[in-house]
């Protein structure tokens, strides 16, 4: 039976005796809790924009108020503003957990507070990247559990990764470390989405890693002359990651492991002729389809044409050669589809 809705899933759980003595009641209860009054996304977007704008004005107002109150020491003022704003944000989040507007205000005020505190400290010590990296990592870790909002957690982890990549490249002058970071973020996202049993707690970092990996590849591809690094070192890590993903699919879908051989060979070929970005985009599509996760699928759908376009744009050949290679790729893919259709027809025909 194909599972389309939660009703299908509950029926299957019931059929396979996975439900406890209370039956589907706890599931219904948990699902109804989320349901509530569903606000459309565009109204949410409007609330988010309003909350962030209001928080910006409020932060400037607070800063000016402190400045006019006669606190001469700049560092102390910023540290007080920072800590005060973080405290206010935590209080807002705890006091109004259901209010979208209050939550967004709390997120904006929290980040404003983190920036104010870090700037104050950095001015007192030294304005260096490691300082920002350390503070971003520290705030993300400390506030991860008390501030239980997915956007706050996602932005915290993504910001830390951003500072880390900047630190690796500009401060330590280790451009090859960026490739390592691409591999680590890709593998972390893969592990969290496919193997981690606590994904409900670590979904925001998983998404942050999933978007950081292709974003870093894009930076390397676009800026590789000034970075002075080739593109290929991330490829083996990503190709291996993709093979691990196939194994996960075969294991979960109870598929034929022999069918993996041509897919693995195709991946090896792809990693030789293509860009690592295409491999990451394929991994995002596979994970998105496997988990029926629209966010991952959307990322894959956006990154695949982007990396393919970049690959063809950068080819140092004539338009005619590009045209030939595109036609050849199209024919190979359509040929593979024709083979797949024939295989399915044959298999379905052979089935009684």
């Amino acid at each position: 039976m194909r599972i389309a809705t939660m009703a299908d899933l509950v029926a299957r759980w019931k059929e396979e005796r996975f439900l406890g003595p209370k039956g589907p009641e706890p599931i219904m209860e948990a699902l109804s809790k989320d349901e509530g009054e569903e606000t459309p996304w565009y109204v949410k977007a409007f609330v988010v924009a309003g909350a962030w704008l209001a928080s910006l004005f409020a932060t400037i107002f607070l800063g000016m108020l402190l400045a006019t109150c006669g606190i001469d020491d700049f560092v102390v003022a910023w540290l007080i503003i920072g800590l005060g704003a973080i405290g206010l944000a935590l209080m807002l989040r705890r006091r109004f957990p259901e209010s979208l507007f209050a939550t967004q205000c709390a997120i904006a005020v929290s980040f404003a507070g983190q920036i104010a505190f870090t700037l104050g400290l950095a001015r007192h010590l030294r304005l260096e990247t490691w300082m920002f990296l350390l503070m971003a990592a520290l705030f993300t870790t400390i506030l991860y559990h008390p501030f239980d909002d997915p956007i706050h957690r996602f932005v915290g982890v993504a910001g830390t990764l951003l500072f880390l990549s900047h630190f690796l490249h500009h401060d330590l002058k280790l451009p090859y470390a960026l490739h390592g970071l691409v591999g680590v973020t890709a593998w972390a996202a893969g592990w969290l989405f496919t193997r981690c049993e606590c994904l409900h707690r670590y979904r925001p970092p998983a998404y942050a890693c999933a978007i950081a990996s292709p974003a870093l590849i894009w930076v390397i591809l676009v800026d590789r002359k000034s970075l002075d690094t080739p593109v290929w070192p991330a490829t083996p890590l990503l190709a291996l990651g993709l093979v691990a993903l196939y194994a996960w699919v075969a294991e979960a879908a109870d598929g034929d492991r022999k069918a993996l051989i041509p897919v693995v060979l195709a991946t090896a070929l792809l990693s030789v002729v293509s860009t690592p970005g295409v491999l990451v985009a394929l991994a995002l599509l596979a994970m998105g389809h496997g988990r029926r996760d629209r966010a991952l699928l959307t990322m894959g759908i956006l990154f695949l044409p982007l990396f393919m376009a970049q690959f063809y744009f950068e080819m140092k050949t004539s338009l005619l050669a590009k045209s030939g290679s595109l036609v050849a790729t199209g024919l190979v893919l359509l040929g593979a589809r024709a083979y797949l259709v024939a295989y399915r027809r044959k298999r379905d025909g052979a089935r009684p």
């Binding site: 996975f18 699902l31 309003g50 209001a54 107002f61 595109l326 199209g330 024919l331």
Partner: protein, 336 residues
């Protein structure tokens, strides 16, 4: 929106949430994640993926081939190529029928190719025509097509062509010859969009996803807001030139459209349009307050007032939109 929680789409995120809430155990979670990835689903996905990416590569490859050889092609070859494509699309639309989505897509492709043909004509024979004349000619040629098959794609293309023709005419003729100011151009474009909005409301209000309406409302609001914000940012709000007078006219044209939405709200309330209009109103209120604060020259007080204004207007508007949403939900439940 799913009416019952069980009608919600099954996905890995929901399964993980249920596991996190303690509604299912680890075994049930693992089994469910496996069932979500059924073999049939993977094969369907692979088939779709190979078809879409393969076809895209093939079409792009063919386009690159013509782009490479375009300069060396003789004019008759260029026309032959385009007109073959045009004829193919038109015949395909006729064969599939204008009621089917594929027929409508082919009809729309043929309509686009009419414009490409005109552009190539201008390129080959160097007619010296202004860009707006191309779009006016294109829109005029498409009138019979629009009357014959007014499907959404065709209407959207035609409206876009008329708006573009008007804006290009303003940029190339009306503004340089001082018939209109930049603000006046935008206001007139908004008035034109409002007229299309009224026609859409009158003729096609019962169509499924009203994305043409959303685009027209957004365009009207953007075009009205730019000159209105300009007026707000200067000292004094008096009507000083024809552009401002036209702004009033455009607002008057948008008024009946808004009235139509509200009058039909029991039947089908359009929350997207209301949100767009509300956002625009908020923008004006905040801009007006900003100007007031700047004139006061009290920065500290100003930022405090601005914070309260944004919080107040957002809360008020969201309260109103949620009320409308509940009103709609109640209306839908009451309907047989």
């Amino acid at each position: 929106m799913a009416s019952s929680p069980l009608e919600r789409r099954a996905d890995g995120t929901t399964v993980d949430e249920l596991f996190g809430a303690g509604a299912i155990d680890g075994r049930a979670r693992k089994a469910a994640l496996g069932w979500l990835m059924d073999r049939q689903g993977w094969l369907d996905f692979a088939e779709r993926f190979l078809l879409v990416v393969g076809a895209l590569c093939l079409v792009l490859g063919i386009l690159f081939f013509f782009a490479f050889n375009w300069a060396s092609l003789k004019p008759w070859m260029r026309f032959a190529l385009l007109q073959t494509a045009f004829l193919g699309a038109a015949l395909g639309a006729w064969h599939r029928g204008l009621e089917s989505p594929s027929g409508q897509a082919l009809h729309l492709s043929a309509a686009v190719l009419v414009g490409v043909n005109l552009a190539i004509y201008g390129q080959v024979y160097q007619t010296g025509a202004d860009a707006f004349e191309l779009f006016v000619g294109w829109a005029a040629l498409l009138v019979p097509w629009l009357v014959a098959a007014p499907h959404r794609g065709m209407r959207a293309l035609w409206i876009a062509l008329v708006e573009l023709s008007f804006l290009l005419w303003c940029a190339q003729v009306a503004v340089p010859e001082d018939h209109l100011s930049h603000g006046g151009t935008l206001i007139a474009a908004a008035a034109l969009a409002s007229v299309f909005l009224l026609i859409e409301e009158w003729r096609f209000r019962r169509e499924g996803l009203p994305w043409i309406r959303w685009c027209l409302v957004a365009m009207t609001m953007i075009c009205i807001s730019i000159p209105a914000l300009k007026v707000l940012s200067h000292a004094g709000c008096e009507i000083r030139d024809p552009a401002e007078a036209l702004a009033l006219l455009a607002l008057l044209a948008a008024g009946p459209a808004a009235h139509l939405y509200l009058a039909r709200r029991l039947e089908r309330l359009d929350l997207v349009s209301l949100t767009l209009v509300g956002f625009c109103l908020q923008l004006h209120v905040v801009a007006w307050m900003g100007r007031f604060v700047i004139e006061l020259r009290e920065a500290l007080f100003g930022f405090g007032v601005m914070t309260l204004t944004v919080v107040g207007t957002t809360a008020l508007l969201v309260h109103y939109l949620r009320r409308q949403q509940r009103f709609r939900a109640a209306g839908e439940e009451g309907r047989p």
